[in-house]
Symmetry: D3
């Protein structure tokens, strides 16, 4: 049996499930990344969906808001991940973090990763936050 | 005026406040780090307390649980921060994260920072988690 | 359906397959890592086996020798991954790299990651290389 | 008392002092960064000024030339900090480092951080160095 | 004697040799990098050629294909090295790695360096791979 | 001609020169590192001496004190380079930096690389600084 083959029925189901989790959290931003990979590296696209979202993100042990806080911390610290940071700032808004909380989280990273990483994260994040339509008041 | 002088009344008050925040969150683990610095680099000890805890951690814009999730993400991604990770796993327990949530947060970082960083974080975190007495049921 | 549940028959099969790939490549060193995780973070152990080895390492698109060369490059550049580096130096020997080639690969990284990372990698690698019994001449 | 409130008289004074140190060292380049943050993350702008420049940079224990050399080393090694590197190449010129010394410092980092970081730093630094009017001879 | 002087006959010979190795492996892409440095940091250009290619790359202890696999691993893990990654994807093609193997190598790094680094590497690599004319069949 | 052969008369002379520079700056600490490499990776030992010290460190374009400040910045930012940091704290003392200046340089890095890197650097540096006999007063 070929577990690594991304076109088995089992892996098609894993990928489809992962894509659903991805859409729920990232909306079209995540789907756009997968589409950009589809022609040239479909296996990478598969594993972004199947592993990152289907296997890990969907696990019940940590709520989506908490997962996004960890994700923001990792992406800011790594540096050079501005495209991924923008996707995940959008996801953070989708799972309930407010723009003020996201900015506070970035400020918080100055302590552990220094100001340059936090400044780069700010400029990337604001590209998303300025375009974000806040939810209408009821 | 010498804003940088850590012994002005203003800076003594900032440091004292920071130490209180630090004790509230990290218990003795944080205080031990400051004590280790007191003789050789007191200015570094001052700024750990005054800036990291008094100025940043104490801000109301993000709850302590959320701050710890960001902190865990940053420390795991940086790598080589096992001593700080242990202090902050302890802090994470103090502010209400469960051992299961901390382990899930570490698993979550495999997606963004890879397995080696998550494995190193696991081995460091478990040194704290195995010693942690869970709060007694009422 | 719960794709994230590591105890479904599907995920048990994925894990078993990954463990076989891991044993083939890393021998007991990899199995020891999984055993160390089994009690405290079984999901992390599952994904090391199922994703890293079953899904990725076993793919036919790149031979094991080449995969180990990429792995050595990543681990040396990341820094702070000495435990993983030792496991993968052992794996490199298992898939046919010679001690001389491993040392040359480390020297090669000085160009791209600088001397400190290469020196740390050398000291970690030599702990494995000195214990390695070379294959007997026929 | 609210040490973390950036609008207390004490923190206004700290910020004003930090802005003066920043202007002295970075000229308008640093002020531009703060202005870019003012609307969206004023607390981050405050701490760049109050902590980085007022509390740390202004300390007498190390001369500004030496501080810039350390800063260049850190920013080159981190990678992905090209915007900050440009600000600090300009600052390095302001505190008396020559273009030749800055280029030599970048070359020096090849030993410890490898050639790619040094090449990226070179291309960022030259954008500043080519625009720099050398001080007039007396 | 001034070993550090890049214009001694000895160092001219080292540089010329390194440039030949560089041309053999990287074609015009590597030469373009050296040309970009020639006016502003000729010593850095010298050492890229003399050390990286003449002293290290040309060593017989590891074949060029293997060196490129290590190089790809290091550059992907470092992050922020997209310009260098493009040069070395081109070099990888020159020394016999196929586009499929390069894509597989990038996928392989997800295990050790996480998905964001692999995604950034993919987008940089595809800029080279899409322009690559495959060798004609005989 | 084999420029990469570390046993040519030319490379023997380069290595000898580099070892002299290394001894002048690092004293026995640097020589100990080379000795540790001599049996297993003599080419790495050669290039530490010939390239890092003979080719780069000995260049007249930047004074040794300035080189050590850049080196400290890079090593602190990289993280996981505690052994190299200790060697270079010793070298920093040898070229005229005072313990107070070294501690201040470490504090300075909190701004750019965050507190955990500075704390790790402090604990490594103090192992050297506590053993350092200050020069006798005349």
């Amino acid at each position: 049996m070929t577990h690594h083959d991304i076109e088995t029925p089992e892996n098609l189901a894993r990928r489809k499930h992962g894509q659903e989790v991805l859409s729920r959290i990232d909306g079209h931003a995540g789907a756009d990344v997968l589409a950009a990979l589809a022609d040239t590296n479909p296996a990478l696209a598969h594993h972004v969906a199947a592993y990152s979202f289907g296997d890990i993100y969907d696990r019940p042990g940590l709520d989506p808001r908490s997962r996004q806080l960890v994700t923001l911390g990792v992406l800011i610290a790594l540096g050079g991940c501005e495209p991924q940071l923008k996707v995940h700032v959008n996801a953070a808004l989708n799972v309930g973090l407010t723009p003020a909380e996201i900015r506070e989280a970035i400020l918080h990273t100055t302590v552990y990763a220094g100001f340059p990483r936090a400044l780069n994260a700010t400029f990337a994040a604001e590209e998303v936050l300025k375009n974000h339509t806040p939810p209408k008041a009821p």
